[in-house]
């Protein structure tokens, strides 16, 4: 555990600055937080380290978030599909959720996060799943069946342009571009 492993090289920081929306301070802070979460394993090579999903979800920024599971699944590039996050996945996540990310990037990732079954479209079960996550995902906080039907009908009426019963990527982007609150609420800062 030499001293060199506890700092990112300047070249790497510049590369990350170019490839993400994060500033230098944010990258260094992210590195610090990532090392803290991974404290038990050896820190010799941070790039190849993967934190398992359960430990990663203990981050305070993600703990209270109902979508933390989906976030890990979407941003993880692990070969074993287990949702484990490397440092670069973490940076990708912070970049997509940063203040300077464009609307296209945010809406792209939001679409993938809300697509619970991963089929490339938001169908009724995805929307139902989404609403349940928003209201608390417990039996006593769920909306009643008729309310859920009414709500999903309203959502599809507003956003489903080609009336095929699902919201595809471009329809989602269109409805997000007209949503005034999306940019300010789709934000995570360390």
């Amino acid at each position: 555990m030499g001293n060199s492993s506890s700092h990112l090289s300047k070249q790497l920081i510049n590369e990350y600055q170019e490839l993400t929306y994060l500033t230098k301070q944010e990258i260094i802070l992210a590195y610090k937080r990532f090392s803290e979460v991974a404290q038990k394993d050896n820190r010799s090579n941070i790039e190849s380290l993967r934190i398992p999903k359960e430990r990663f979800l203990n981050l305070p920024e993600l703990k209270a978030n109902p979508f933390n599971d989906r976030i890990c699944t979407v941003f993880s590039t692990s070969e074993q599909e287990d949702g484990s996050m490397s440092f670069e996945d973490f940076l990708d996540m912070l970049s997509a959720f940063s203040e300077s990310a464009t609307l296209e990037v945010k809406s792209h990732y939001a679409f993938r996060i809300f697509d619970f079954d991963g089929d490339g479209a938001l169908n009724e079960s995805d929307l139902e799943h989404l609403v349940n996550k928003l209201t608390g995902d417990k039996d006593d906080t769920k909306l009643s069946n008729s309310e859920m039907r009414q709500l999903i009908a309203n959502i599809l009426e507003e956003s489903d342009i080609d009336k095929d019963g699902t919201i595809n990527h471009s329809e989602f982007q269109h409805v997000i571009s007209r949503s005034p609150d999306f940019i300010s609420s789709f934000k995570i800062m360390l």
């Binding site: 209270a64 670069e88 959720f97 906080t141 959502i155 009336k163 007209r178 005034p180």
Partner: protein
């Protein structure tokens, strides 16, 4: 072809809410129909695969390459546009993982070797320019005031309340900039020349009439200590003849070596430029929110998509706030759905019921107008009484009763501002509007009360200043007996309003909010628990600070250092509100949208600013400047200095300015701007029609596609 594989997305039709026969492509038992190979050749499916290949990660990647191998013909021409776009976009805008972005960058580098030297240089210079801009932005970001504080507040209470504190920060900075402007251009030259550093000439009143020029504020000699405190609170006495008020500025020109600096001209110009700067800055901040609400109508703020897709505030880090947010979202969704059901029921209202509702609303509006008229009359009487009965002779200043009389207008205005919102909130419940409209309507009424009460105060001031009881005001143009230096008097009134507003905010926080929290925590009586812990009411708080800022803008001409007081006041209020929020308030159960709140703050502020410009303009251009004090004793009105200066310009420039200010320029200019506006309105209407037509066409194309697919599948089955 294994039947277990997933169907291409465009061809799956689960039960849609408006299900009709067109959507039943599948066999009744629900199993996916066998996919014909030709379906995979559709261009839309191919582009989806390509997107899936690069965007969706390893799993789908492996599966979709298998599918790609199965397809027969791939249209090469559709490949080009997608990859070209990827080559020219900056890397961070591609929604890919880090490894894929690195590969893309290497590919870009390879391609860039083949472009000419000129475009290479262009690209590299563009890149370094962008990097420089980012470094500058990062540097300025560090200088942002209170960044960590606002971030903490957002984490616990959400972005709605966070935006209130950003708004407060904006006001602190705006007031500080205005103070710097006023200070550098007016106070500093006067202070320097009073020390004798440069040659300066004092104002020499040219009027032979000595009655108008008699002005002696008191405040010298030995006085009781507490009279100093009273002077500090009311702006009289020793404070009256200081840099704080207009009356102290008596230097006419300051000679900096060769340059003659005319102080009256600077005074008027700096005031006007402060107001213009405020307008420009607020409009710039409001532009984003304005664009959004111009695009869709009112109802879209209640749009379900906005609530669902942008409903969760990803900033929230606190478990307790998160559970509160869950319940507030659930509450909001339930009420919206219920409201929609009510609305559908309302449309079936009978004629008699509608007539009754409108009659009721008419009655209640009359009551509202009555309440407003009553409070305005009270403010008017209080102002008149205070102006008549407050003695500005120094001896009687030691009387605390006198202080109360001086503060009477402020007290009445504050009472009106506290009581009328409560009345409005209870009245609007009987008017049977939709809940969202109720909130907005009450807010509009409260804004009206706040800003109109300042207007009433100013009108009563104006009538007192320009009306003389028995004799005519022709001698000096204003009531010189009561107000020898009326500008300082107006400045004092604004100063008192500002101080009192600050004291009320502090007092309310200390003596109402903290005890309420203590009571709710330690005393478990039913009544107290029903009163409950308070929430941070954003609209009322915003109205409070906008009211304070409007007073500052009105007073800026009469009291040049007022922005400095406003800066300090808002600085302290930030910390007071923050502490009160964290200690006393719980997160609101009724959500207040961040976007609409930003736009709402800026609009209210803009209304206050426009309202403030009117009395300032009036005071500069119509009311005769006082002859006993100040910079404009030799002019009829303060504005007159500008034509006087213009007359000293070279002839050509003079003519040009006269032409611009004349009617023969203004009327055609006005007509031209009307024409441009009508053109844009017509353009927007045409675009809206085109959008509707395109939407219809898209839905129709989709139905055609479904129909064709179904027929083709049938034909394929028959063949097989």
């Amino acid at each position: 072809m294994d039947s277990g594989q997933r169907l291409p997305m465009a061809h799956r039709f689960p039960d849609s809410p408006s299900s009709d026969g067109d959507n039943d492509v599948f066999l009744p038992d629900g199993s996916p129909a066998p996919v014909s190979e030709f379906l995979q050749e559709l261009p839309s499916y191919q582009s989806l695969l390509r997107r899936k290949t690069s965007y969706y990660g390893t799993i789908e990647r492996r599966r979709s390459t298998r599918q790609l191998k199965g397809s027969l013909s791939v249209d090469p021409s559709t490949f080009e546009p997608a990859s070209e776009v990827m080559m020219t976009k900056p890397l961070r805008e591609c929604a890919l993982s880090m490894q894929e972005k690195r590969k893309l960058r290497d590919m870009q580098k390879l391609c860039s070797q083949y472009i000419t030297g000129w475009s290479q240089w262009k690209q590299s210079s563009w890149n370094s320019c962008r990097k420089f801009k980012e470094d500058m932005a990062e540097f300025f970001c560090h200088l942002t005031l209170w960044r960590g504080n606002i971030h903490n507040i957002e984490g616990k209470f959400g972005t709605g309340i966070g935006s209130y504190f950003s708004f407060l920060r904006f006001l602190v900075i705006l007031n500080f900039v205005m103070f710097l402007l006023m200070f550098c251009f007016t106070t500093l030259p006067v202070a320097i020349s009073k020390q004798g550093a440069f040659n300066s000439s004092n104002i020499i009143p040219s009027l032979a009439d000595s009655e108008c020029t008699y002005y002696s504020p008191g405040g010298y000699g030995l006085l009781y200590f507490y009279s100093n405190i009273i002077d500090l609170l009311s702006g009289t006495g020793f404070l009256e003849l200081t840099y704080l008020f207009y009356g102290y500025y008596t230097i006419e020109t300051v000679t900096f070596y060769v340059f003659n600096y005319s102080l009256p001209l600077a005074y008027v110009l700096v005031t006007i430029s402060c107001l213009l700067l405020s307008i420009a800055w607020i409009v710039k901040r409001a532009v984003n929110g304005f664009k959004q609400s111009l695009v869709h109508d009112e109802d879209k703020f209640q749009s379900y998509c906005n609530k669902i897709f942008a409903g969760w505030d990803f900033c929230i880090t606190d478990q307790y706030s998160a559970s509160l947010k869950h319940s507030s979202l659930q509450y909001e969704l339930k009420t919206d759905l219920a409201e929609e059901r009510i609305r559908q029921r309302k449309q079936k209202r009978t004629r008699g019921e509608t007539f009754r509702i409108y009659f009721f609303r008419f009655l209640l509006n009359i009551i509202v107008i009555g309440v407003l008229a009553g409070s305005f009359y009270a403010i008017y009487r209080a102002t008149v009484y205070s102006l008549e009965n407050s003695n500005t002779v120094s001896g009687s200043n030691a009387d605390p009763i006198n202080l109360l009389v001086e503060y009477l207008p402020s007290i009445v205005i504050t009472i009106a501002n506290i009581v009328t919102p409560l009345i409005f909130e209870s009245i609007v419940r009987y008017e049977d509007y939709s809940p969202a409209f109720e909130i907005r309507f009450t807010l509009i009424r409260c804004v009206f009360v706040r800003l109109a009460s300042i207007a009433v105060l100013l009108i009563s001031l104006w009538t007192r200043i320009t009306s003389c009881q028995n004799q005519t005001c022709n001698l000096c143009g204003y009531n010189y007996k009561m107000y020898p230096c009326w500008e300082s008097r107006v400045g004092q009134e604004m100063y008192k309003l500002m101080i009192f507003d600050f004291l009320i905010i502090v007092a309310l926080t200390l003596f109402v909010e903290f005890p309420r929290k203590l009571m709710v925590t330690y005393w478990s009586s039913k009544l107290v628990q029903w009163w409950g812990q308070q929430e941070f009411e954003i609209p009322q708080n915003v109205l409070e600070i906008v009211y304070g800022q409007t007073i500052c803008w009105i007073g800026i001409f009469y009291s040049p250092l007022l922005p400095a007081i406003a800066t300090v006041k808002y600085f302290i209020i930030f910390y007071i509100k923050k502490v009160s929020l964290i200690e006393n308030c719980r997160p609101s159960t009724r959500p207040f949208r961040a976007s609409s709140s930003n736009f709402f703050f800026q609009v209210i502020l803009l209304i206050g600013l426009v309202l403030a410009c009117i009395p300032v303009g009036f005071g500069i251009a119509y009311i005769p400047a006082s002859k006993a004090c100040g910079l404009f004793v030799n002019f009829t009105t303060s504005w007159e200095i500008i034509p006087t200066v213009v007359k000293t310009f070279p002839n050509g420039l003079q003519k040009f300015i006269y032409v611009i200010a004349s009617e023969s320029f203004a009327v055609p200019f006005f007509l031209l701007s009307c024409l441009v506006m009508f053109y844009f309105i017509a353009l927007a209407g045409a675009h809206k029609k085109v959008v509707e037509q395109l939407q219809e066409q898209l839905a129709m194309e989709s139905r055609d596609k479904l129909f064709l697919i179904r027929r083709l599948t049938e034909v394929h089955h028959i063949k097989v």
